[in-house]
């Protein structure tokens, strides 16, 4: 029992790769390998979609589910395989995304139930665990659809049941599982007509195959981080990068998915395409090819004609590049967000106006969510803003007390490491982002940002929408009011008067800088007058003015 921990190391380092039992740490390595291999092949799985529904990205959904599962055990020293499996199942349940993710979580749940608190797993137990995976997965639906991930787990569990009567070597059994999964996936179009029509195999089943194959590759010491077959991610070749190399006259982008009749002669194919256009890229996966090209408008049908002569076309996308360019230009003008370095700390900021967004971006925000008073962003919007960032360290600045809850919910839904700094207003948000450092220690920066919350006061100047008396301040509808840290403190007839009164209410002795962000409902001249008056009254203080572009509020004032 003492050398339990080194079971797999022994087998991994010795020549023979056979072993009869594995423990919790071994399972952890296998899960990690499965995750890495699925990640490497994520795009391939995504490309197998047939339903145009948002559940669409099966590869991504399964990956997020597996990532959540692995996160539960990433730092675990547990050697009891039952306990590790239970954590994996729990993580998969919590992180389950999409149909395939939910089914995957049920597969893990059944698996973990059999391993219940067992220190080790042998072939017999593995076989029972996989059968229970199958049973649990099938129990979750009234009418199981065959030709899906369900069929694949069924075929694998039956093959393993059969296999353990002959062998007790887990590596050998895994080989059988991988081989069966592969065959089962290839057979899915025969069971599910819609797959056959679309000319693909089932995506969830393929994802499950990669999980098994990743484990096998770990044992065979094969690399896990580069997919064997590369289909370029379409979204990554569509925008920014290719836009820079668009040549004059290349107005149309054409992307065609096809299956060649005979083995494709790549060189000749590239030659032919070269006569039609530029920016040629060809991807291949499981016999399915994807071609990407930019051509002149008059030649836009030629790639299709060429490919038709050599194989079966399954999908054609065409897009007018000039339109695309215009949209990208417009977006660029809006905001110039810099791509963050992979793995660095990303700040997501909620901002009520374009000017303020620009300020956050200039301070390094990796994503902006539009929202604020009277237009709170949804959890979904917040989640979407950072799910695609190439890092798992994310800091959210809600910048409004009504958004903090949504930000926390987004945090709970994400598999990434997310911290929410409870910034209740814009000036706290700006003080916080000044503490940001992309390569710093995540926990340290979060702590610094939290500390910064007390170091700034936030003033807001707006027009009263109804008559009211709060905190002893009487307000008539249409008058200008001033809020300090969210509380109504002054009211007046002009923005200038209210602004100066507001500053009196703060502890100006302790502060050294006043920053005014002016909104869309006030002119620049008015604001410069106000800033002059402030500078006159407080000669020791720095006064800065920025165009915040926020609606409703004439001024947002940060007092630091």
């Amino acid at each position: 029992m003492i050398n339990q921990k080194t079971h797999m190391e022994q087998t991994l380092t010795s020549q023979s790769s056979s072993y009869n039992t594995i423990n919790g740490q071994d399972l952890k390595k296998l899960v990690e390998a499965a995750l890495r291999w699925l990640k490497a092949n994520q795009q391939l799985v995504n490309s197998l979609n047939v339903f145009p529904v948002p559940d669409g990205d099966t590869g991504t959904n399964m990956l997020l589910t597996m990532q959540a599962a692995y996160n539960e055990i990433a730092n675990s020293e547990e050697t009891n395989i039952g306990k590790v499996a239970k954590d994996v199942a729990q993580g998969a349940l919590m992180g389950a995304r999409g149909n395939s993710g939910v089914i995957l979580s049920q597969i893990w749940r059944g698996f973990a139930r059999v391993l219940d608190n067992l220190p080790e797993m042998d072939a017999q137990i593995l076989s029972r665990a996989l059968s229970e995976s199958r049973n649990t997965a099938y129990k979750g639906v009234v009418r199981p659809v065959e030709g899906t991930i369900l069929t694949v787990i069924k075929d694998v569990s039956l093959a393993v049941e059969n296999c353990v009567t002959k062998s007790s070597d887990l590596a050998e059994i895994l080989d059988v599982a991988v081989k069966t999964a592969d065959e089962s996936v290839k057979y899915t179009p025969e069971l599910l007509p819609i797959l056959k029509t679309a000319g693909v195999v089932d995506s969830g089943g393929k994802g499950l195959f990669f999980l098994f194959e990743g484990m096998q590759r770990l044992i065979q010491k094969l690399p896990l981080d580069e997919g064997t077959i590369v289909i370029k991610d379409l979204s990554s070749i569509k925008f920014a990068e290719t836009m820079d190399v668009v040549e004059d006259g290349q107005d149309v982008e054409v992307v065609i998915d096809f299956t060649p009749n005979d083995k494709l002669d790549l060189e000749a194919f590239y030659n032919d395409l070269g006569k039609i256009g530029t920016s040629i890229q060809v991807g291949e996966g499981d016999g399915l090819y994807r071609m990407h090209i930019h051509t002149e408008e008059s030649k836009q049908d030629e790639p299709e004609a060429l490919i038709k002569s050599m194989g079966q076309i399954s999908k054609i996308y065409k897009e007018d590049l000039r339109d695309q360019m215009k949209r990208i230009e417009a977006k660029k003008k809006e905001l110039d967000i810099k791509q963050i370095a992979p793995g660095s700390i990303a700040v997501v900021s909620v901002s009520p106006g374009p000017g303020l967004s620009q300020i956050f971006v200039s301070q390094g925000a990796a994503a902006i969510v539009t929202g604020g008073q009277t237009m709170n962003p949804s959890i979904e919007e917040i989640l979407k803003s950072f799910e695609d960032l190439p890092t798992d360290k994310v800091i959210i600045l809600p910048n409004n007390k009504n958004v903090i809850l949504a930000a926390n919910s987004a945090k709970a839904l994400s598999v990434k490491n997310v911290a929410v700094i409870p910034t209740r207003n814009i000036s706290q948000g700006i003080s916080a982002i000044l503490r940001w450092n992309p390569d710093g220690d995540f926990d340290q920066i979060v702590e610094d940002m939290n500390d910064s919350l007390d170091e700034a006061d936030c003033g807001e100047i707006t027009t009263a929408t109804r008559s009211v008396e709060i905190n002893g301040v009487e307000v008539e509808e249409g008058k200008i009011i001033g809020l300090l840290n969210g509380k109504l403190v002054v009211s007046g007839n002009s923005v200038l008067e209210t602004c100066l009164d507001l500053l009196e209410k703060t502890d100006m002795e302790m502060r050294e800088r006043v920053t005014l962000f002016y909104g869309s409902n006030i002119t620049e001249e008015e604001v410069s007058k106000i800033s002059e008056k402030i500078a006159e009254k407080y000669p020791d203080h720095e006064v800065e003015v920025h165009n915040g572009g926020q609606p409703h509020y004439q001024l947002i004032i940060s007092i630091e």
Binding site: F51, D55, L93, M94, N99, R113, K139, G140, V141, V142
Partner: protein, 118 residues
């Protein structure tokens, strides 16, 4: 509801037809183990009439259709994901087969079936 007129006449699709599509799609959706009665009273009615579209309400406005689903979900699944999936799938199936626009699919989880308690 007539989603489209063609040159020789109109097409009418009843509530009941749409409810049938919704109920079949829901039962094919992973994690859904049954449809439930909206309330006890209609439960009795359904018991007497054997309504095939129990657990589905269909509402029309001029251009679109809204669906309410009353469902039993398998215990131990992530309910949020299952509910998201079923509403997407029902919307997709109705839009694909009828050509109508589905404005809303509201999912009411009426209970969980516990097959295994782990």
């Amino acid at each position: 509801m007539n989603p489209s007129d063609n040159p020789i006449g109109s097409i009418y699709i009843s509530h009941r037809s749409i409810a049938s599509i919704a109920s079949q799609s829901a039962l094919e959706s992973y994690g859904i183990v049954g449809l439930a009665n909206k309330n006890l009273a209609s439960g009795f009615t359904h018991a007497l009439t054997k309504d095939p579209v129990m657990g589905v309400d269909v509402f029309f406005d001029e251009t679109s259709v809204s669906i309410d689903l009353y469902l039993i979900i398998e215990y131990g699944t992530r309910i949020k994901s299952v509910a998201d999936n079923v509403s997407e799938f029902v919307k997709y199936q109705i839009e694909k087969t009828t050509g109508l626009t589905v404005k809303q699919v509201n999912v009411h989880v009426r209970g969980l079936r516990i097959s295994n308690t782990d």
